[in-house]
Symmetry: C2
Subunit: 415 residues, 2 copies
């Protein structure tokens, strides 16, 4: 494995991997209440100790020289990537953006990009000899953790607010996780997960707390780079809630730049829902403290976040790359689900469709030019939220079983 250190993204202090487990001890807890936390750690690799990419492997193990794991075989057996990179000609034409690319993670093992992170964190738990992992989550991250843990016989304890959506809770239970609904809010469940991590020696997977989720998610940037013929796109639109995926693509392209494999980072754009836009607001206000979005609310549950855990890293990534925030409405997200489905044959969950809606904003506002290569991350499968898909369409009325009735209906529904 390539050796690495853990560097605080706020104060820059650096630690050996055995010296600290989660956050920078100097900075953790020092952010103002209700603001993005400080002390998130970043993995800084030394010179790669193995081939990058390693052609012996087709999936995420391909990138093992820049994964924080002692061996590629620590990754669970459910293969993660490569996912398709689409050049959707009909959608590109509809948008007037010939260089549009869709990086489509809907076909990953549990249907979301979160599999990338959970795979690496479960690998780390195996390396460290931990038998139980935990997180507080209502959604895709916990589902992914449950599946990856199941595939290697580790235990996952998922703390959820008792009001969490039944569908994702069902998925976790099918994967054999110990799902524990907790009286109170998400914050109560999260606080209890940290207590249990300390008290029971469990391994905590929560993003921007565990330092390794970013290095799991960054493989989406590596794949994109390789699929584009070893180059970066001009711009990349990322559905953004807590900011960790944005931090991860920033980390992935930064790793590539450090190796001389790209000469610049793509401009990164954070697509956020108008009702959960802490990072876009902080970027617009040049406010490095990243205040939380009080009462966050959007149909895009995967990017509905009050206090973004990786908010500070995300805002810096937007600034450093010359990108920015793209704030879209729930109506625009719903329309983007339909546009993506009928022009490209892809069914996205609302958070993923938000990225497409964001790309439409960016084009309209001149942030990206029609002659640029613009990649949009499709981070989650629409089957995770069929009801949201239903809002994008109109349920037709029945007809009598006759050719005449059919002819009239088909004419009325003509594209």
């Amino acid at each position: 494995m390539t050796s690495y250190r853990l560097a605080c993204t706020d104060c820059g202090r650096s630690f050996g991997p055995a010296e600290v487990e989660y956050l920078c001890p100097d900075c953790a807890g020092s952010a103002p209440p209700g603001h993005a936390p400080r002390g998130v750690l970043r993995v800084d690799f030394d010179r790669p100790a193995a081939a990058f990419p390693d052609p012996a492997f087709p999936d995420a193990r391909r990138w093992h020289a820049l994964l924080p794991l002692a061996s590629p075989e620590l990754l669970p057996p459910l293969p993660v990537g490569p996912t398709p990179l689409h050049r959707p000609s009909r959608l590109a034409e509809a948008l007037g953006l010939p260089g549009l690319l869709l990086k489509d993670d809907t076909g990953l093992p549990t249907g979301s990009l979160k599999d990338r992170a959970s795979s690496v964190v479960v690998g780390k738990a195996r390396e460290l000899g931990r038998d139980t992992l935990t997180t507080a989550s209502t959604g895709n991250a916990a589902v992914a953790l449950s599946a990856m843990a199941a595939s290697v016989g580790l235990r996952a304890v998922i703390l959820v607010p008792k009001t969490s959506p039944i569908a994702k809770r069902t998925q976790m239970l099918v994967f054999g996780a110990t799902v524990v609904p907790v009286e109170g809010t998400y914050d109560d469940a999260y606080a209890l997960s940290l207590e249990a991590t300390r008290a029971f020696g469990w391994y905590n997977r929560s993003t921007a707390y565990n330092p390794y989720t970013v290095d799991g998610k960054k493989t989406v940037a590596f794949e994109l780079w390789e699929q584009l013929g070893r180059r970066a796109p001009d711009a990349l639109v990322v559905p953004t809630g807590d900011g960790v995926i944005l931090a991860a693509v920033h980390k992935g392209f930064s790793d590539l730049r450090a190796l001389g494999l790209v000469d610049r980072l793509p401009r990164l754009y954070a697509a956020q829902a108008e009702g959960s836009a802490a990072i876009a607001r902080a970027f617009a206000d040049a406010d490095d403290e990243v205040p939380g979005h009080v009462g966050a609310r959007t149909i895009a549950d995967s990017i509905c976040v009050s206090v973004p855990a990786a908010g500070r890293w995300a805002v810096r990534a937007l600034r450093e790359t010359g990108g920015g925030g793209l704030v879209v409405t729930d109506d625009e997200i719903t329309r983007a689900i339909g546009l993506l489905g009928r022009t490209a044959g892809i069914f996205a969950e609302p958070a993923a469709a938000a990225a497409l809606a964001g790309a439409q904003h960016a084009l309209r506002d001149g942030l990206v030019r029609p002659d640029e290569t613009v990649a949009v991350l499709i981070t989650g499968n629409g089957l995770k939220d069929v009801a949201a898909g239903g809002r994008a369409v109109t349920m037709p009325e029945p007809i009598a079983p006759t050719l005449d009735a059919l002819r009239r209906r088909v004419a009325a529904d003509a594209p």
Copy 2:
């Protein structure tokens, strides 16, 4: 392209591709009422006119020398396969079947094996210059057709009984299909689709009517063969409703045998739900007429079929390969969903879990030996039927947000 003829699977009469479009004109309509139809056509290829597999392509285009398309580029851009072949060590141990393999199609573009067929049929529609495709279906086949058609700008007209499940109807609508609920039963919708095919010149995708769906689905056999190091497994368990997937893997391995790439076919087993078991019954009764299963009913909607369209081909495939039928209960299907989830991290729809339950039967009854290589087709994603997953698990009660309460819950839920 490799030239081919269309041969009747009942009378053997052979036609040029331009001579006949759907069924053998001599045999169609000659089966007794309520029995599996006659006259299904099989594609018989001449010597391949191109490399097989073609290493230039990673996805289904790899097999173009044995696909009935004028060019691999006729296939829609949504990539189909290769899907993972898992060696699920924890599940294999739980079953006492070390050679267990799972061929996992849950990550295909619309989440089911039906994408393989729809991709080829849409390719054929493009070759023939047809602009509208149609089928009568309540499920995965129509969803797959809608997505593949959308990706290339063709129109899909889907006729559904007005009582069809809302979730799959939503998917089709998101993919921009013209979804037409028809008053009456499935049979009324199916009859209308045939009328419209004749009257309007639409291209009909219905399985075991259109002769090309089998050659789309057979790529699952080609992938399995290549992933096993260019050999066949000893046995293959196929979730079976209308019999087309069974016919397709039979066709795939028969194609390989014709090229000398395997020396025998794997034993094929049809896993059927007890409430929809026409093929297994006809096999057991040595009844070549394959009577329908009156009032078919099972939680596994994708294999719930009264009259199996490819029933005669399927029964012959079981007989020729030395396999058989495996009839499982809905309770066994539900338990298999949970077993697959918690030991392998895979969430399957009920039809797919039926194949795992069938493999358990085969092992118990000595039809497969513990030292054999036994592949199970996981044909559809559990996210298509979250309610079925819910029946496989118990929803836990909430706890107070304290370490003590958590400790007690985790101890009570210990594996």
